[in-house]
């Protein structure tokens, strides 16, 4: 198992390197001159040259790449000061260090993800399992029906409706805003409650359906029938035998969802006028801000790879066949 994790981590590092390389060379190959973009309209050739020098754009391309990559590990020096590791470079546009910008925005994205996830995992899987346990009952019909309707909603549709009702018409709540958890946990929760709940609602619907389907499949397994045949109660069999196997498809999808959420959801952030990673990525792309775009991209890729490894570890925890092979 340890060997497996080490091998996967090594693979992840290589993958991140390749992603970095591909993004870097794609941007360099793109037909736009970053120096003249950074220089602005009335740009004198001397100033342009100075900027080129400052950005390192007159260096050979492989040297630029090397500096970028080594910066991630050991940090690097810019004319404006030292950029500590992990240094993802300096934004052409704002002049800020990319890592600092990401760290500035990430708490919001992380908060939204953790908050929404807590709700949709508990409510979604709970409702799905209850529906499977009482298959065919009224509870099942309500759970199936409402999740069918809700999962066809989108954030940009549900979000404004909720905002209109709770904020603009009645004034019961304020516009969503981010307050750091460390400063004011209650304010943090209240400030982000609307986007969290709206996100969670849509995900809950998906997870309810998935958990129900997966549970029903497991309940039809022969080993579940064997457990019943030796006199174990329906409840025992449900929570001991069927539950474990039903987690596998959920964990798979959850891994993909979390890494996507941590990489930033532009639509959510735009709907609720919040400044998270998603917005940052879009801004970087619009401004052709190479270091920023690459930084956000690598940051997102890191989570995808990390979650992939975590998902495999969870598989091994669930299923001894994975663990022992």
């Amino acid at each position: 198992m340890l060997q497996f994790i080490i091998r996967r981590l090594a693979g992840a590092v290589v993958t991140l390197f390749l992603i970095g390389a591909v993004t870097f060379f794609l941007f360099v190959a793109a037909p736009s001159d970053y120096a003249s973009l950074a220089c602005g309209r009335d740009c004198s050739p001397e100033r342009l040259d100075a900027i080129r020098h400052a950005l390192g754009l007159n260096e050979p391309i492989f040297k630029q790449f090397w500096e970028f990559m080594s910066g991630i590990v050991v940090g690097r020096d810019f004319p404006d000061g030292h950029c500590a590791a992990p240094c993802l470079g300096q934004s052409f546009y704002s002049g800020d260090f990319v890592w600092d910008t990401i760290m500035d925005r990430f708490p919001l994205t992380l908060s939204l993800t953790v908050g929404a996830m807590t709700v949709f995992l508990i409510v979604g899987i709970g409702a799905g399992m209850l529906a499977a346990y009482r298959r065919g009952s009224l509870v099942d019909k309500i759970a199936t029906g409402s999740s069918m309707v809700l999962s066809s909603f989108q954030i940009y549709f549900l979000g404004p409706i909720v905002l209109t009702i709770l904020v603009y018409s009645t004034g019961w709540m304020e516009d969503p805003k981010y307050v750091p958890f460390t400063e004011d946990p209650v304010g943090w929760l209240v400030g982000l409650s609307i986007p969290m709940v709206v996100m969670a609602t849509i995900f809950t619907a998906q997870y309810t359906r998935m958990a129900r389907a997966s549970m029903i499949e497991q309940l039809a397994e022969e080993h579940v029938r064997t457990a019943r045949a030796k006199g174990m109660s329906k409840k025992f069999v449900f929570f001991r035998y069927a539950w474990r196997g039903s987690l596998i498809p959920i964990v798979t999808v959850l891994g993909i969802d979390i890494s996507a959420l941590l990489g930033g959801g532009v639509v959510t952030e735009l709907t609720f006028s919040l400044q998270g990673i998603g917005r940052l990525a879009v801004d970087g792309a619009i401004n052709k801000d190479l270091p920023l775009t690459m930084g956000v991209m690598l940051f997102g890729a890191f989570f995808i790879l990390l979650l992939n490894i975590l998902v495999d570890i969870v598989y091994a925890w669930i299923d001894p066949r994975v663990r022992l092979s």
């Binding site: 397994e221 022969e222 045949a229 174990m232 196997g245 669930i318 299923d319």
Partner: protein
């Protein structure tokens, strides 16, 4: 062993030796295509300590019957009629809690494929211990001791070590041995074995069958042995019930049914199987056609569309009247006793040698 307590609480109301008694059992499933009459008016008895073989092809209702005895059918989609008496206790109407107390305790089941029938997520030892702890109120330690003892009994090498293994670490034959050990944990009075060796190789099958027979001698359980293989049943059972399309068509002792079969379906089964010592120049005589759909089964005798002897029966009896199955040694067929005997001797028996 608990054989002592068992004899005390055995009122045996249904007959002198009948331990399990099934009367006019009907099982219907509602499916999207309509109602499947999986079992249609089935009656049989199992004597204490004896083995009843139930033989039939896919769709004959043999597995459904036994899941129904254990109460493991899906209550949402199935409709059950009739009586199942286990040691005088009615099971069809019994509440779920009472059935739970009986399952794995008084009656246990061995399934066909031990790879899918054991949970991949828990150790063999844990799966064996659970019923013992539940039914006997045993501690973890006691259950473990019992499980190791049973694993040893069924021939698992190093049972103390293998107790902590997962099912996938066992070979196919060893898995089925573990499954048998699990069924015997609480020393059941009734053991239902549903095609227990079909998934196994022939040399392993021979081991498992002999093991089951020897264990029965020691534990004294009654066994219902379900299979499609007449050879297997010939070696395992005392009595035999032949099922076709949800109904019993022939009943008797194994010797009677296999040596002087009376039903055309049994004749067909016997003469479509080659024997290891048979005449190689004799071509096999298959049963024409295929088993009917239970959504829309044939009227009258369900075997009549495939039967070669309907011409010997007067009128349209075969296609519009269900032949009754009398008690004891009997076959559900409209042929007269005389006809059955002469057809068997003249046309069937010569093919079997």
């Amino acid at each position: 062993m608990t054989t002592l307590t068992k004899t005390e609480d055995a009122p045996a109301p249904t007959g002198p030796e009948s331990f399990l008694s099934v009367r006019d059992l009907r099982v219907q499933f509602s499916t999207e295509d309509g109602i499947v009459k999986a079992v249609d008016g089935l009656s049989f008895d199992v004597e204490r300590g004896k083995t009843l073989g139930i033989v039939g092809e896919s769709g004959s209702g043999k597995s459904v019957t036994n899941l129904t005895i254990l109460g493991l059918h899906n209550p949402r989609t199935s409709h059950i009629d009739g009586e199942i008496l286990l040691d005088g206790k009615e099971l069809v109407t019994a509440p779920e809690k009472e059935l739970e107390q009986l399952r794995g305790n008084k009656m246990a089941m061995i399934f066909q494929d031990p790879l899918t029938a054991l949970s991949p997520y828990y150790t063999v030892g844990r799966q064996l211990s659970e019923p013992f702890m539940k039914h006997r109120g045993a501690s973890k330690k006691e259950a473990k001791d019992r499980a190791i003892q049973m694993l040893e009994k069924v021939g698992i090498p190093q049972p103390k070590v293998r107790f902590d293994d997962y099912p996938h670490q066992f070979s196919g034959g060893m898995r089925q041995r573990a499954m048998i050990a699990m069924a015997l944990m609480c020393d059941p009075d009734l053991l239902i074995a549903d095609e227990p060796t079909t998934a196994l190789d022939v040399t392993v099958q021979a081991q498992i069958l002999d093991l089951l027979k020897d264990l029965q001698q020691e534990f004294g359980s009654a066994i219902i042995f379900i299979t499609h293989d007449l050879g297997v049943i010939s070696n395992m059972a005392d009595d035999l019930l032949v099922m076709y399309a949800g109904r019993a068509v022939e009943r008797g002792s194994v010797k009677e049914v296999l040596r002087t079969p009376q039903h055309p379906y049994t004749w067909g089964l016997l003469s479509s199987m080659p024997r290891l010592d048979g005449d190689i120049h004799e071509t096999l005589s298959p049963i024409p056609g295929s088993p009917p759909s239970l959504l829309n089964p044939p009227t009258g005798c369900r075997f009549h569309p495939r039967c070669a002897f309907t011409g010997e029966v007067t009128g349209t009896l075969c296609s519009d009247t269900r032949p009754p199955l009398a008690d004891g040694r009997a076959a559900a067929c409209h042929l007269t006793a005389q006809q059955k005997q002469s057809i068997f001797i003249d046309k069937i028996q010569p093919r079997l040698r």
